[in-house]
């Protein structure tokens, strides 16, 4: 749902969800970038471009949300869609990063507002982006620019159970699956592409999460990826307000 360069279909899907903090944050972010894209989609979508639909289901057939999806051309060169204005958002609520997984293009700025009741110290020591945001609440710090592709693991130096992930990609099309395990990347030019999935929950080997797809000029593409291994257990964050924060 947090894709920067795909269009309004996934936005409407997000709006149809119940107003959980997760959904609210995603909606706010998507709303922010949609204004920039709506005009662009109408005016610049290439003639004959198709929609790419992706569904991710687990070994037992259940939907898998918050899966990062990237789509990169493998054949002829395509003109990358223009980069949207706006800033992506990785929020902090109830001692958790929201969303848990965010996908952004290389060069994107990401804000880290802290809308929690307690202060946080956000950091990453991932090679793709090392940074530290000293203790804060609200929006004290300037957005962080993610200028190298790769996975950036976020943590809080006070609350070790907090973990968030930002996947920085060079692929022109990307997003994350919604609560229904689905993502639609609209207006993708026809051609051959490589579809890649990633989630901290998925235990399948990385090579099993890459597949070649063909985007048809009329039909677009539809892919359902069924995982072969059980998801890694990941309980929902549980703020314990009685705990003394050392």
């Amino acid at each position: 749902m947090t894709h920067l360069r795909s269009g309004s279909r996934s936005t409407s899907a997000a709006k149809s969800q119940s107003a959980t903090p997760f959904a609210v944050t995603r909606r706010r972010f998507v709303d922010r970038v949609t204004v920039a894209f709506a005009t662009w989609c109408c005016l610049t979508a290439p003639a004959g471009a198709g929609d790419v639909a992706v569904n991710v289901i687990d070994r037992r057939g259940g939907v898998v949300a918050d899966v990062a999806v990237t789509l990169a051309p493998t054949g002829r060169h395509i003109d990358p869609p223009p980069r949207p204005s706006g800033t992506a958002v990785m929020d902090q609520q109830n001692r958790a990063f929201v969303p848990r997984v965010l996908v952004v293009g290389v060069g994107t700025s990401v804000e880290f507002p802290n809308n929690d009741s307690v202060s946080h110290q956000v950091y990453s020591f991932s090679p793709a982006k090392k940074f530290q945001l000293p203790l804060y609440k609200g929006t004290r710090h300037a957005p962080v620019v993610f200028d190298r592709h790769g996975l950036v693991v976020l943590g809080c130096n006070i609350h070790d159970a907090m973990a968030g992930y930002i996947l920085v990609t060079e692929a022109p099309y990307f997003g994350t699956t919604g609560r229904d395990g689905a993502l639609t990347l609209p207006a993708v030019p026809p051609g051959e592409y490589e579809l890649t999935l990633w989630s901290p929950l998925i235990a399948d080997p990385p090579e099993a999460l890459v597949r070649a797809i063909h985007v048809d000029v009329h039909e677009g593409s539809s892919s359902t990826v069924q995982l072969t291994r059980d998801l890694r257990m990941r309980p929902e964050p549980r703020p314990r307000h009685g705990d003394w924060e050392y």
């Binding site: 802290n114 307690v118 202060s119 110290q121 950091y123 020591f125 991932s126 090392k130 530290q132 000293p134 203790l135 804060y136 609440k137 609200g138 004290r140 693991v153 976020l154 943590g155 130096n157 070790d160 159970a161 973990a163 992930y165 901290p200 890694r232 257990m233 990941r234 309980p235 964050p237 549980r238 314990r240 009685g242 705990d243 003394w244 924060e245 050392y246």
Partner: protein, 403 residues
Amino acid sequence: MRVRVCAAALAVALWSQAGAAADQLVLDGQLDLRWVHSNGATSYLEGGPGILRFDPQHDDVRFGGAYLASRLRLGDTVTLHAVANAYGDHDRNPVDLSEFWAEVRPFPSSPWRWSARIGAFHMPVSLENRAAGWSDVYTITPSAINTWMGEEFRTIGAEFEARWLGASRAYVGDLAVVAAAYGWNDPAGALLADRGFALSDRPSTLFGGLGRPPVTFYHEIDRKPGYYAGLDWRHHDSLEVRALRYDNRADPGAATEAGGAWRTRFTSLGARLEPTERWTFIAQYLDGDTIIGPDSAGINQFRMAFHAAFGLASVEWRHERLTARFDDFHTHQLSGFFGPPGDESGHAWTVGWTHEFGNEWRLVAEWIRVSSSFPPRLEYGGASALLESQTEVALRYRLHAGW
């Protein structure tokens, strides 16, 4: 004039800096007023053989205690902590510090993050005392193990921790190695030998005394530092497992006017499982020994082994929490007999209920029934075996403030 302008500019700059950072100073406190009803012997705090905090002579409305825990962040890596307590039980210091320490925790630059604590603080054994001021979130009275931890132990020294952060491997959890060196813990073991295990929410403070006559705990007698080392594993934010080996390395032959040094060693194991948002299960086990008297004393050297365990189940829903705990504890004197053997054997059932009225007020009710035998009680003219019970209903007010 220029000086004034510069001073004003500096003040504004400092104020804006302080205002920009959040929660630099946080205070958490609690006041506890309770109704108590007891059946059993005079409490050890009054010089009697009973092993509960209150006794029938203190059936009434009582001041349960108060604490104020402060946390001051200096920059992004240093935090100062201090905890002050008052118990209203004729302690020589009406208000006293129970902990104060500085913690250094730099931002991690790799999956291993180190941190250190320097000062006086509780060692990482109790899985019950997880709230501000080392208070128990499940019952009023902690288990026999953690009662003893609060009474005779404080790390007065430095603790180092290296924690592997699992998020870098898409794992929600971490594993820490912790080690500490400390002094001023040479009397640890004396109270256990003299009284056995107890169940009480009256921990010691750093400079005060416990009971009548007051007993003080934190003395350096042999000038030898002690150590502890352990592991802490947190898995999926729902399971925490701790293991710790403690040895105060005291010379049992050393003595000063503060008393003799007790060589106390133990191994502690504990796990806390929170499989759902509602349920908590805790189990802890402690096994060790304590020695006093020079080695040359032979069989007259006092040696005592001890072990204790408890299991706790707690469920919370809406504004309620219900907890049940079973304690089992034993001491066994091995040598140094000058009277009845200091062999304590006991078990206890504790049931607690908490109701929260908003963020500030809560009502906590608790019932304890403890059965124990301890032959040295015969010297007081009483029976070795005791069956005691205690019912408490505490009204607690909590304060929280941050700047």
